[in-house]
Symmetry: C2
Subunit: 140 residues, 2 copies
Amino acid sequence: MTRSLSEREAWDVINAGKLGHLGCVDDGEPYVVPINYISIEGQIYSHSLAGRKVQAMRKHSRACLQVDRIKDDFNWQSAIAFGNFEEIRNDSERRTVLRKILEGFPKLTPVESELSRDAEPPTIVVFRLRVDRVSGVAED
Amino acid sequence: MTRSLSEREAWDVINAGKLGHLGCVDDGEPYVVPINYISIEGQIYSHSLAGRKVQAMRKHSRACLQVDRIKDDFNWQSAIAFGNFEEIRNDSERRTVLRKILEGFPKLTPVESELSRDAEPPTIVVFRLRVDRVSGVAED
């Protein structure tokens, strides 16, 4: 049977993951996209082109990141972190976070390739989910 | 680089999948959960215990299902279907949908085990996402 994860266990799942599903609300409509992320000291960081999810979160800052850890159909954990979207605009913090994200993903995606060509392209948004609540469920 | 999927391609990803990420809105807060689903004639069907997601969608019926098809970091597709939550309460339709869901998932999960013990336990909610829009992106 499924059980609830403790806050510590939920963070373990989030900290161990790299790919999560970001949920946001766009004009009352839920929107979900897979994202790569890193977690640092209880916050979640990612970067993105300024597309629909960023535009949605600029208007409605409440968001969540859901992370799966699946061994098989009977052995899995699912954690979710809730928080508020915050764009990181401070140059030095932005640089530090981008460096840590790139370290976490040595295989560059197109967005990250663009980053490596130009350290500060204006279209790349670096953001944080300021997490205030985590939970999760598991079957294990 | 990433490209947009056609509607046909997005449905191909959704129809080929079994596990997706359902997004809904709970009191203004986005909520994302992994679900097993089946698609029949352009609609998405699933079942669930009457937990947070069902309670949320009963109040705010707009929902989405996001489905990944990932080969590797440079070869993936992500599709999303938007629609309205509808609970299936009609006995015969409910039975038909449940049977199709169970056929799709021969390895029973706890919810499905419960179904197999009791064909109509009141706590199992069978629902449809009445899809009105699909889209997607890919790198391939």
